[in-house]
Amino acid sequence: MVSGKTILVTGGASGIGLATAILLAEEGAHVVIADLQDEAGASAVEQINNAGGKAEYHHVDVTQYDEVNALVEDIANRYGSLDGAFNNAGIEGPGAQIVKMSLKDWDRVVDVNLTSVFICLKIEVAQMLKQQTGGSIVNTASIAGLIGMQGSSGYNAAKHGVIGLTKTVALEYAKKNIRVNAVCPGFIETPMWDRTTAGNNRLKDSLQSLVAIGRTAEPVELAQAPVWLLSDRASYVTGVALPVDGGYTAG
């Protein structure tokens, strides 16, 4: 579905990012993984290459403009173009009601989850504008970007903000062959899910019972959505926030 495309995946060393990187490679893309987890990143590349795909890993802090800029420039120089990007790097919030949430934690969640998307979008769009072929960008928002969730004001604010960026930038460059969409994952079996549920089976069960489909998703189920949105099959889809959430936001 994405044969021959060069696609950047931030936060691609684990969880949703890793699953998406693997699927993109299976579907023919050359995948550039950006992350801070060097060991996991190297391991991801090995896994993909061994399976016959093409991937590379770069240590990049997506909150740092210069680092992201250098990476995108490097990709464009070596491959001629950046065809797609999955701005997925993110962290969970501290899990506290607002009176117990510190300003420091707030700043950090907003910085990594929202400001980094701003930075990445800005740089990716600038590169894609130089290309005749445009490009497709997908941002990882969340169901928390569509609705409220207790104990999550920082994360929710940031993820709502990601949707705001998505819709606006989609409008700005729709005529330039650049599409921008967001995926809104529900509860997905990733290290983030493990951390937020902290091995608490009762909590896991109660959260899953809130989902219409009654279970969490495998990361590969989530990955299908950004892969589709990054492909030319979604050529008339832009500015959309697509829930992949087992019906969580339907009710």
Partner: protein, 253 residues
């Protein structure tokens, strides 16, 4: 292997426009397509196009607002093919362009009957069948950007399409644990006979549509078909109750 390999999928309104494009695409990706349409030839042309490309299809005449007809067709499909794996409830009418003070109750009734009650009948019968199947199934309904936002002169159409989104979200919740997914596609201005009907009457509308879409152009029926197919396939296994706009950015702003 095709994205919907070996699946039996019903496409209503499959004789033209988005329905036809979807039927063709599904067949090219390995599905056996059951084309249903009110039109006299009942989708025979679509079937021919599919067969000549090496795909597998059959055509039936169907009034989607006739519950008994719908139920009989689905029973027939299940008997003949073993299961109904997917359904694209796409049949719909545009209704007149008129502000509410000029919208006749007959026109209202007709649009609601086909676009909303027709979807209700389709989804009901399809779910009843899919509940008998271990493998569940996937249903996609054609709503519209008019199911998400208002549109001048389109009260009946809007109400019906908002209603389709409502049915979709609710039924999605009801059967999510039964391996039955229900989603909608929300096309924007798409190059189909339904749109041509408008632009033939008023050619300036074509430019108007282009200018009001961020992408600066109308959608192609095949672009809508791609989204419907993805939602019908197993690739969207965790997606249910969703209203997916394929609208060139129309509803983003």
């Amino acid at each position: 292997m095709g994205m919907v390999q070996n699946k039996t999928i019903l496409v209503t309104g499959g004789a033209s426009g988005v329905g036809q494009a979807t039927a063709i695409l599904l067949a090219s990706e390995g599905a056996h397509v059951v084309i249903a349409d009110l039109a006299d030839h009942g989708g025979a042309e679509t079937m021919k196009l599919i067969s000549s490309a090496g795909g597998s299809a059959e055509a039936h005449q169907l009034d989607v607002s006739d519950y008994d007809q719908m139920r009989d067709l689905i029973a027939q499909i299940a008997k003949l093919h073993g299961s109904l794996d997917g359904a694209f409830n796409n049949a719909g009418v545009a209704g007149p362009v008129a502000r509410i003070s000029k919208l006749g109750t007959d026109d209202w009734d007709q649009v609601i009957r086909v676009n909303l009650t027709g979807i209700f009948a389709g989804v009901k019968c399809e779910v009843e069948q899919m509940l008998l199947q271990e493998t569940g199934g996937s249903i996609v309904n054609t709503a519209s950007t008019c199911g998400l936002v208002g549109m001048y002169g389109q009260t009946a159409y809007n109400a019906s399409k908002h209603g389709v989104v409502g049915i979709t979200r609710t039924v999605a919740l009801e059967y999510a644990k039964k391996n039955i997914r229900v989603n909608t596609v929300c096309p924007g201005f798409t190059e189909t006979p339904m749109l041509t009907m408008r632009t033939d009457v008023d050619p300036s509308l074509s430019d108007y549509f282009d200018n009001h879409v961020p992408m600066g152009r109308k959608g192609q029926a095949s672009e809508i078909a791609e989204a419907a197919m993805w939602l019908l396939s197993d690739r969207s296994s965790y997606v249910t109750g969703v209203a997916l706009p394929i609208d060139g950015g129309y509803t983003a702003g």
